[in-house]
Symmetry: D4
Subunit: 166 residues, 8 copies
Amino acid sequence: MDVLILMGSDSDADVMSAAGAALNEFGLTWEMTVASAHRSPARVLRLIGDAHDRGVKVFIVGAGAAAHLAGVVAAHTSRPVVGVPIDATALKGVDALLSTVQMPPGVPVATVAIGKPGATNAGVLAAQMIALADPQVARRLVDYKASLEAKVEAAAARLASRKLDR
Amino acid sequence: MDVLILMGSDSDADVMSAAGAALNEFGLTWEMTVASAHRSPARVLRLIGDAHDRGVKVFIVGAGAAAHLAGVVAAHTSRPVVGVPIDATALKGVDALLSTVQMPPGVPVATVAIGKPGATNAGVLAAQMIALADPQVARRLVDYKASLEAKVEAAAARLASRKLDR
Amino acid sequence: MDVLILMGSDSDADVMSAAGAALNEFGLTWEMTVASAHRSPARVLRLIGDAHDRGVKVFIVGAGAAAHLAGVVAAHTSRPVVGVPIDATALKGVDALLSTVQMPPGVPVATVAIGKPGATNAGVLAAQMIALADPQVARRLVDYKASLEAKVEAAAARLASRKLDR
Amino acid sequence: MDVLILMGSDSDADVMSAAGAALNEFGLTWEMTVASAHRSPARVLRLIGDAHDRGVKVFIVGAGAAAHLAGVVAAHTSRPVVGVPIDATALKGVDALLSTVQMPPGVPVATVAIGKPGATNAGVLAAQMIALADPQVARRLVDYKASLEAKVEAAAARLASRKLDR
Amino acid sequence: MDVLILMGSDSDADVMSAAGAALNEFGLTWEMTVASAHRSPARVLRLIGDAHDRGVKVFIVGAGAAAHLAGVVAAHTSRPVVGVPIDATALKGVDALLSTVQMPPGVPVATVAIGKPGATNAGVLAAQMIALADPQVARRLVDYKASLEAKVEAAAARLASRKLDR
Amino acid sequence: MDVLILMGSDSDADVMSAAGAALNEFGLTWEMTVASAHRSPARVLRLIGDAHDRGVKVFIVGAGAAAHLAGVVAAHTSRPVVGVPIDATALKGVDALLSTVQMPPGVPVATVAIGKPGATNAGVLAAQMIALADPQVARRLVDYKASLEAKVEAAAARLASRKLDR
Amino acid sequence: MDVLILMGSDSDADVMSAAGAALNEFGLTWEMTVASAHRSPARVLRLIGDAHDRGVKVFIVGAGAAAHLAGVVAAHTSRPVVGVPIDATALKGVDALLSTVQMPPGVPVATVAIGKPGATNAGVLAAQMIALADPQVARRLVDYKASLEAKVEAAAARLASRKLDR
Amino acid sequence: MDVLILMGSDSDADVMSAAGAALNEFGLTWEMTVASAHRSPARVLRLIGDAHDRGVKVFIVGAGAAAHLAGVVAAHTSRPVVGVPIDATALKGVDALLSTVQMPPGVPVATVAIGKPGATNAGVLAAQMIALADPQVARRLVDYKASLEAKVEAAAARLASRKLDR
């Protein structure tokens, strides 16, 4: 398993599955499960330990509200931890963003955008990290970058053919 | 020991000592130390365990930035946890406030105001909790409330005697 | 009656009933009513007085907008007051959060998260306070913590069995 | 006495004295004192009652943090209440602004700008209200408006004569 | 006509009609129209001039976005101007609130809450101002305050009879 | 072609077509396409180069999230660049606004309001710039200003004829 | 005169003189004076009229707090108006930014960054607009862009020669 | 060279040198220079190209205001890019944080905390990434984690020996 995807609640699964979809693009293996920094701290530690045993390279962690989960994982591993703030409260993800990104010196969380765009980017970022030691993933990242450009060209073509409602 | 005061960094000590000063007003015993949810998670658990063994009734926890410490303590105890958000970053304590107050259902942190006023109130709130089982503390809280009123009267007298610069 | 639940408007009842539901888990007795710091201040004082006479241990207070109700209750009691900010305006509860948490030194309000998660936690926090003098409630809190962990395990199992839409 | 100026703490006096200075421009009488909605609620009610007895026409109320004082005054009077949010915490007056302005329907607080500019405007606004029944104050307001324009002209002249550091 | 209600766009009419409804409770006369500080500045001045000629006592002004209308009215009258910030953009009324309340010294706008609660309060506040010279309105304000309290009692009764969904 | 309208994603087309509609009012020619500062940077440079070759006078650029596109265009042209922040994330356009407006000294982006009102204004602003060298556009701007005033009068008439729901 | 620089208060002159300095780089003529949308509205109209008579091409307007001045100028001219939000209150320029940028459709203000960087950019943006009809200014803008790049190279050289304190 | 540190202005060097100091702890080689996405875009591309040629593994990029530099680098590389938002404007780094973290899907920037704590963490995060392919760095990260814990213990000892001013 290359990447373990954790989330604070199963209501985050629709957002976080975008991380898995991105990892699939690079041929990386992953598992996804639920664990709560506050409600099941022992489970979090157990999952981190298992992941270490199985050689997990990167952790991707999504959480909303007082989003401590990514920070707790980062406290217990020296592997990179990518944090996805989730818009799960009245505060629209600002709480999760600040709880995830404002980590104290020594214990980074690589924070990405709020919600689904961030979850996708968490998968891409994990691939970029893993590519440092895996030339095949590195090549796929080059292809992926080209595919982004192609998608923009396709969108431009789509727009050109649209009758815009002015 | 009635109350354990924890803080994420010794730079928080000037703020958090206001909690101790408030506890002194009610004759409560306390100790204060440093522990980091992210840099020394094992120490946090050890301190919580010791505190349980010594019969600590309430935890007061101050932290800045991605302030996870109060939440981590709350994850490992069923005693009340009072959280003091500390203004320690460019974001002026908004990060710490949201990281402390927006806890998920099941694991509350009793959050007070940012900074020194909050630390004072953390001490008062702990006394209010302990007073539920301790009539002497309850009586001191009644006296304390009267003293607040007297201080306002004194401030009013001071203002009346001042030559205001209009 | 162990806990009096107050709210500023009956439109807050759906949120605040989560506090009652949480208190039920710990076998605590409670009543819930409406009172407004601004529109019915005399009623607020009367309710506080009655609550004192009936031995209420903790007040749980929900309010939105310029949420002064918890602070007004705290001004008139030395019992712990738990404040639940409610998302009732265009500002999504930020107004209520700041009006509730930023209390001046001497008069704390134990503030929890905005909305329903906060209301649930208000009930749990009240139970944690009451447990300081009631070993049965303390035991139920230990069970409750275990149940939280079990719910996370159940969510993980549910997620594992789901066909995620990637 | 035309106007009673209240503030939550004597540390607000420098800001709030600007309200008195503005009232002086219109020949209005006023007194200024300290009272806290949270620490001395009985004193607040006593001051409102005295003010009613003495025929006070407008209340001007300054407060910082969870600024409830103006709202509490408005709950107990049908006279206009002008609220001045004060920048007294890490949140730079945002807490006081939202606590003052977001009043529920039925109990308005006429809110002005944060800090000293707001305190000046509280005095002018009180004069505008009183002028509805007092032609002399109305005339002074017309003169005041002219004086504002003259001050802008003077500032323009001052700027024209300055050697700007480019 | 006692009060002129202005708004920046006819899409604000549903919100601002709450101000008229409140004025009706106090037997005050009013008219309501549209004028834009930016798109029809001449119309704004003409309306202010007409209002002065007809003896308007108070202006109530609602506007969203960069809500300048209340400030522009205040620049051209010495009568009290009440500003209602309207939630009309992606920023949920924060833009309108700050544009309305942060007026410079000398030119106050009496700002009330964002949206409909604010519009209601604008009507009540105007009545409070007019009551300084009109004992009948003053008496109606006393009745109004009593009616607010009665409505809270009614809400409490309603809540008591409800089967809450726990 | 007078104006090139760029947007970061074709999902922005409904908002950005308002810019085209505004340009139509002034008889200006424009084209609209998609390009991403991050996903297709080469395409952005190519489009800017083509636009220069074709004598484009003004660029109008809409983008959401970390809205860098307007800034990237401004980095590569000395023609005026108008930036339209788009509400495309949980943060409601605040991210796009700050990413667009807070440009460093030397490389301005003329920023307008978030979303559709801003897109309309982008078209008007481009016309105002082009009118500096084109008297016909200048005349149309005078007519346009008159039409704004007429629309406000029409809205006022519409409001006057409406039965408001109080 | 090419550009008229207006500001709401002479305390803004240090910030706004950066706009003049930038205009100097492009050989443009300008004057700078004080006028307040709220305290001297007649003066504002007079200055706009004079500017039109003298052929002013662009207005640059700086204001803080409820920054209405740029919007008021835009309401009375069809020439481009560049707005500079100024950090003049406890809210650090957020109030001025939103009051300046969130203009309604039809009346744009070309908004730049808060404070001095924004004032510099206001000058550059005005030059970019004027360059649409003035090839000499257009050439100077090309030189200016090159000078920016040279300054970055110089900063890089400076940094390379510095002994950084690690 | 393992890591290239870029910053938008040499005024960011004091903050960003903390990233270099952190990299030193792990025996990693780095260079640091200035480049501006807006003022010197060609230089940015040249530096990225050189870095690729020299086998740079990770980019660390600090920028303030409309902080586009990290995003521009990420647009041109498939190597991981770590973004450090810098508090360089009146908005205290909120602008830089949102401009850095809210990247669109496909082009991640691994964002860390605002300012110096973030710069330190950028270095640690880069080391964690590089450790995926370098066991020696991985071992140093384990030692580093232990040293963080030791520093907390030392801070606790320091606090225990301090005479706190209560």
